[in-house]
Symmetry: C2
Subunit: 237 residues, 2 copies
């Protein structure tokens, strides 16, 4: 936790109260927070401040804003990823948010087990987003969309995300073209499930404007490839 | 598991036996392996083959080599990383191996809890390496070294890893210089612990030839930053 994220409703008075158990406990246990300390606090969906701690109790920490700080910029990318195994979902969302992905789309695919769509973890996405924002020092949640059917998404939604200035790349081992690097424009990036997309899916993606690009001849897990490809694509900054 | 890794001693006859419970179980449960199937098999420290399955039983799967396949190339990088929390260690080693890191150095640092050096997980590094190699389709284990003292490593060992053709970069938020991308030469990359290196450590690293480079103003977890920075540095390929 590198900032404490508060709801806008918690910041209407001059003194703001941090009262969520998770946050208070972290500040006591890991930061050892005391009156007079400075603390980075973000308002969800809004600005970020350096604050001063004015009161500390077991259940509540109170702060006053000192001055505004810059919120880190997002990466201009829509990450479209086949719904992973539930236990990978938390890390995938948290990492994507930490790295600054602007929009995340979770998509069905042939090799996605249908039971994954029933996981209670899908009800906790907002919690993973909060953890990712607090890690990065960010305040703006990415948009997250779920598409439980592959074909309608690829045929009806994906084309609207693609333009001459904003291409879409699907990471795919069986192509001659290598994934670009240090691009200076927005894009969408499509990442398949464990075992990859099936040929029919790659065909449909390509027919609808997506460009297949390989990442070398190592096979990388979904949750690892996201950071790897984002580091590659947005290395111009 | 994208290849089955065997010990050279298991491949002295014409027919090779896969008998490790973990591997056999994976091939039965996830691959549904049958006689006549082709199977990618690597010899640890050696070559990689496409093989044909010639016998299948509950406890053992037997294969015969058909032809040799290319082993993926390593990234020419030494990853020097502050020893992470035990539960992160497995993922960190596995991801680094999957991505092709040539040499991994686990290092002590002021913000590394001394108890981390007592974790039984440090006895299982070889197992994590195997998982990373089987994920990537690689056969060559990276060298792994452990240094329990920061200063002697930085003063006595680090300089020998650095040359005009092989710089060392430390990821550090408080510098004007940005991490390079798409480099065409080998390098070392130094990654700090949770909370970062302390100023004394950054000073000592810089005095001994390491260049501090930032990765933007997001704070990224150790286990995520490794894939991110490798994607950035080695995007020329």
């Amino acid at each position: 936790m590198n900032i404490v994220l508060l709801d806008p409703r918690q910041t209407t008075n001059e003194v703001w109260s941090i009262s969520a158990q998770r946050q208070v406990q972290h500040l006591h246990t890991h930061v050892g927070v005391q009156v007079g300390d400075s603390l980075k606090v973000g308002i969800r969906g809004g600005k970020r401040y350096l604050t001063e701690v004015v009161d500390v109790s077991e259940q509540r920490i109170q702060v006053k804003a000192l001055y505004e700080e810059a919120v880190p910029k997002k990466l201009p990318v829509t990450l479209i990823v086949a719904l992973p195994r539930p236990k990978v979902l938390r890390r995938l969302i948290m990492d994507s948010v930490t790295l600054g992905v602007e929009k995340i789309i979770l998509l069905h695919s042939y090799r996605v087990d249908k039971s994954y769509w029933q996981t209670p973890f899908l009800q906790q996405l907002d919690q993973y987003v909060t953890l990712g924002l607090e890690q990065a020092g960010d305040t703006i949640a990415p948009e997250i969309q779920l598409y439980k059917r592959f074909k309608p998404f690829v045929e009806d939604v994906l084309p609207s995300l693609i333009s001459a200035d904003c291409p879409a790349y699907v990471a795919h081992p069986y192509t001659d073209q290598v994934m670009p690097h240090a691009i200076q424009h927005p894009c969408s990036i499509v990442i398949g499930p464990e075992g990859g997309f099936i040929p029919y899916e790659i065909d449909l993606l390509e027919k609808n404007g997506c460009q297949a690009r390989h990442l070398g001849n190592r096979i990388i897990r979904t949750e690892t490839v996201i950071a790897y490809v984002l580091g590659r694509l947005f290395s111009a900054g």
